[in-house]
Point group: C2
DNA sequence: TGACTATATGATTATGTGCTCATATAGTCG
DNA sequence: CGACTATATGAGCACATAATCATATAGTCA
C-alpha cells in the first residue's frame, strides 16, 4: 500500500511539497523556526535576506501549510506547522552522507 | 545535533535534493523503479513521456546519485540507489494527509 | 558492412519563480 | 491625527530548467 502514496493525484502534490523545500532560504527559515516561533524581522536578521523576500517565502510556506502564522500586536509570529519536515531533512542529510561515503570508497579516499 | 543538519554548506545540498524530487515525472520514475530495475524504454512506456525526456531525467537522477545505472547488452537498466527516498515520500504523504485533515476540520467537513 | 534497436545529447523554446525595488497595508504610541 | 514600526504585495528582471525536436552514439544481429 505504499504504492498508493504516489498515485497520479498525489504525484503533483508530493512534487510540489518537495519543490517548496527545494529553496535554500526556505530551508534556512524552517531551520530557524525549529527553535521556536519567530517574527519576520527576526527571520530577516537570522537569514541575512531582505524583508520582502523573507515575507514572500513565508507566504509561500503558509499557503502550503508548512508554517503557521499568528499575529500579535504589530508583529507576525511564524512557527512550524508540522515538525515532520525535519524528519525529511534528516533523511536527506543521511542520504547525502551515504552518497559522499560511496564517493569516497569509489575514489579510494 | 540535528541542528548541524542544515548548516550553510549542507543547505544548498539538501535544497538541491528536494528540488530533484520536486518534478512529478521524476517521482513517477522513482515510483516505477520501486518495483525493481527498469530499462529506459520500460520507463517511457510506464510514464507516457518521451524517450529523450525520460533519458534526461534519468541522467539527472544519476548525477545526483538517486539511481544506479547498469548497461547490459543494448539496454540501460536503472534502479534506485538509496531506498530512503521512499521514506521521504511516505513522510510527505503523511504531511499532506494531516494538512487535508486540518482543512476538513477548519471547514467543518 | 548495413539494418535495426536502445539510449544519450545538443539546440531551442516556454514557463516558472526567486530576487529586488518601490509602495501599500496595518498596528502602536504620542 | 501624525510619526513610527512591522509586514505584505505588485511590477519587473534574471535565471534555471522541463519539454520537444532532431540527431548522435552505441550495441546487436544478419
Amino acid at each position: 500500500m505504499p504504492k498508493t502514496s504516489l498515485n497520479p493525484q498525489n504525484l503533483e502534490s508530493v512534487a510540489t511539497r518537495f519543490r517548496i523545500l527545494g529553496v535554500p532560504l526556505r530551508l534556512q527559515i524552517l531551520n530557524e523556526l525549529a527553535s521556536g516561533e519567530r517574527t519576520v524581522t527576526a527571520l530577516v536578521e537570522a537569514t541575512g535576506s531582505t524583508q520582502p523576500n523573507v515575507s514572500k517565502h513565508l507566504t509561500t510556506l503558509l499557503a502550503h501549510r508548512l508554517v503557521k502564522r499568528e499575529k500579535r500586536g504589530n508583529s507576525a509570529y511564524y512557527s512550524v506547522a508540522d515538525p515532520a519536515v525535519f524528519d525529511l531533512c534528516e533523511i536527506v542529510c543521511g542520504n547525502i552522507e551515504r552518497s559522499l561515503e560511496e564517493e569516497r570508497r569509489a575514489f579510494g579516499g
